[in-house]
Symmetry: C2
DNA sequence: TCCAGATCTTGATCTACATCAACGTGCTTT
DNA sequence: AAAGCACGTTGATGTAGATCAAGATCTGGA
């Protein structure tokens, strides 16, 4: 149950067995069925979620009802509405499952206690944030400087597994394209 | 000299006078003239820089020579090529000054020692990263879901001072627009 | 089994924004 | 004071990608 997350953590910080137990003891295991919400707009996000199985997405819904995907997550990734989680404000994103999934969730108050009891966790979450920050920065620069086709090619180069698992129109939404445009890009690419 | 940065820090963590001294003792004060580089593509970023005066920008240059602005920074903000800094790889961004500026720079090895000696700094930089992360996420969602005009209106709403200080074509570059398009958007807005 | 919805594709048309080009103004540098 | 940039504006035209519409598969639920 905890193998994946402990392995994930051990890449960044070293824990004693006691500390590892301290950590896993506050994790809550949850199963999320396909199309089921992990978080809905308006709720306050209580948890940081580590995905142990399946695939989820975080997305906003605009005034016209259009969905815009902020991030995907698969096994070994974290997913949450970080802003809601950090500031205790209502979430602006929905998170739901694209496949039957399982997550390990840590509650905010538990995480804060953990920071105090095992200071290394400050370091861990700082590193995770750094990586996420850098990924976001690349995504921004891509979106302001690349064509739709270039962005899609970068996407499949960086996330080849996601391209296989996720419906095409969800990827279009992630890239800020219409499904039709992505379909045409793929058709052109197939010829090359 | 250190008033601004100590005030900035005190919003997030509480330091003893000794810890504050420990911190300021590793800061390096630098003056950067308008158009002068703080960091150039290819160099490894050695510093995190806190701006005490002036205005800087971080930007990439694409194959066609086009500049794409990753971020602006003014007094009270941090600026760096975080990826280069964290991974000791050559920077992919230039940072230069849009006005005569001054920064306080902390070197990577000093920061790492600081994390050990004063663990609260882990917390500080985690919080700073969280804020930056959230800002980036909003920018991504804006760029994939809003029109050019909407993005510009959001920009001036969020950064009214930047809109005053920064040349218009730099803002266009930040938003991923051409200077002509931004000029036309502003003309339309003026009528409203 | 059958129906409804989800997904993807293809074509026709539209439009937001880019590109190209010219010009005015006000700094900076000498 | 002159020359040269940097910066912004405006107009004409081009194009990437959106929108609208229709149809083909496929899938899951009653």
């Amino acid at each position: 149950m905890y193998d994946l997350i402990l392995d994930h953590i051990s890449r960044h910080i070293r824990l004693t067995p006691a500390e590892a137990n301290r950590f896993t003891s506050v994790l809550r295991h949850r199963k999320i069925r396909r199309r089921q919400y992990l978080l809905q707009v308006g709720d306050v996000s209580q948890y940081e979620n580590f995905i142990t199985k399946g695939c989820l997405r975080a997305y906003t819904v605009d005034a016209q009802g259009g969905e815009h995907i902020a991030m995907f997550g698969v096994e070994g990734w974290w997913i949450s509405d970080l802003f809601s989680f950090l500031t205790n404000t209502p979430a602006t994103q929905n998170i739901d499952a694209l496949e039957d999934s399982e997550v390990l969730s840590i509650e905010k108050s538990d995480l804060e206690k953990l920071y105090i009891d095992v200071p290394e966790f400050n370091r861990l979450f700082r590193i995770l944030l750094q990586n996420a920050f850098v990924a976001h920065q690349k995504r921004i620069l891509a979106s302001i400087s690349q064509t739709a086709e270039e962005q899609y090619m970068s996407f499949i180069a960086r996330y080849p597994t996601l391209d296989q698992r996720v419906p095409q129109h969800q990827i279009a939404s992630y890239l800020g394209l219409t499904p039709e445009t992505l379909s045409r890009i793929r058709k052109l690419q197939a010829k090359k």
